[in-house]
Symmetry: C2
Subunit: 150 residues, 2 copies
DNA sequence: CTCCTTTGGTTGCAGTTGCAACCAAATTTA
DNA sequence: TAAATTTGGTTGCAACTGCAACCAAAGGAG
């Protein structure tokens, strides 16, 4: 089994990391400029919103958003402090907490989307053709479906 | 001008961010498991190594590695503490510092590459065909060449 | 030459992340 | 049922990041 990558593999890798880092930084910057919270707030709000009024457990959010549990715990602390979500003990499982969206949370979600969506369009939708966007999604999909073998 | 992205644009975006985040986390994990420092050390070591014995200014490294200057300043502090680079005042510019690689730094660079390169190969080289790798590099290249319009 | 602005780099402080230890409620094993 | 393990979540502490202020050396404009 080959251990050292080919040049073109390294090139793809380097560009992938660089482009995602700079896109991320630019979007965070845009959100901040609009006086809005960082991107991971959006991810959480979106997941919780999708789950409907029953809400979602923290552990479910954590795996969805790729955030370690202890990290998510404090993120939810801050979000609860600003009143965009609520934590409620779960009936069926005494340890779990159900996280639900408040009205303010729903409002923030759509407010963030106005900025976030525009950024996505400007930075991915505009510069890439439809075919390229599909190709990118396909390739990323392959990588995401790889087993995580640690 | 369109402000809201199409579904396939959002899909490509979401997968791009998710895949880079998880690849990054897995590689960091592999480095730590091997008792090695984090990825940004590698990036800095590589840049400095490429510059040869004259070294590189911090500001040049910072733009190359996409790290804010104050952040890089302290990263170099840590690296200097562990003896992998040296800071030396620049002759032609009294403010600047030239950063140079030590022998230990060169050793660390190649030690990290053994782990890092294997990860790249396993996570990108193996799952993707050559055509897909080229396609990914092309698309990322387009995005990187976009003006950063803030 | 003097004032003003820019550039390269550092530092203090607050906010966030990572790690490990911890608690309590399930779940499994015996 | 009692003991051992796993799972969901929190907390303390150290490390790292972001922001803004700062200092000193260059570079320009009058």
């Amino acid at each position: 089994m080959k251990k050292t990558p080919e040049k073109h593999t390294v090139l793809a890798w380097a560009r992938l990391l660089k482009v995602s880092a700079s896109l991320l930084a630019e979007v965070e910057q845009a959100l901040k400029a609009a006086g809005l919270p960082p991107l991971n707030w959006y991810d959480v709000l979106l997941e919780v919103s999708r789950a409907g009024p029953t809400g979602l457990r923290q552990s479910e959010i954590a795996t969805e958003v790729l955030l370690p549990k202890h990290n998510l715990s404090r993120l939810i602390d801050r979000m609860e402090d600003r009143g965009v979500v609520t934590r409620r003990g779960c009936d069926s499982d005494g340890r779990a907490k159900q996280v639900c969206l408040t009205d303010a949370g729903e409002a923030l979600l759509s407010e963030m989307w106005q900025v976030y969506g525009a950024e996505i369009q400007a930075r991915l939708g505009v510069p890439l053709s439809d075919a390229q966007q599909h190709s990118l999604a396909d390739i990323a999909g392959i990588l995401l479906s790889q087993p995580k073998r640690h």
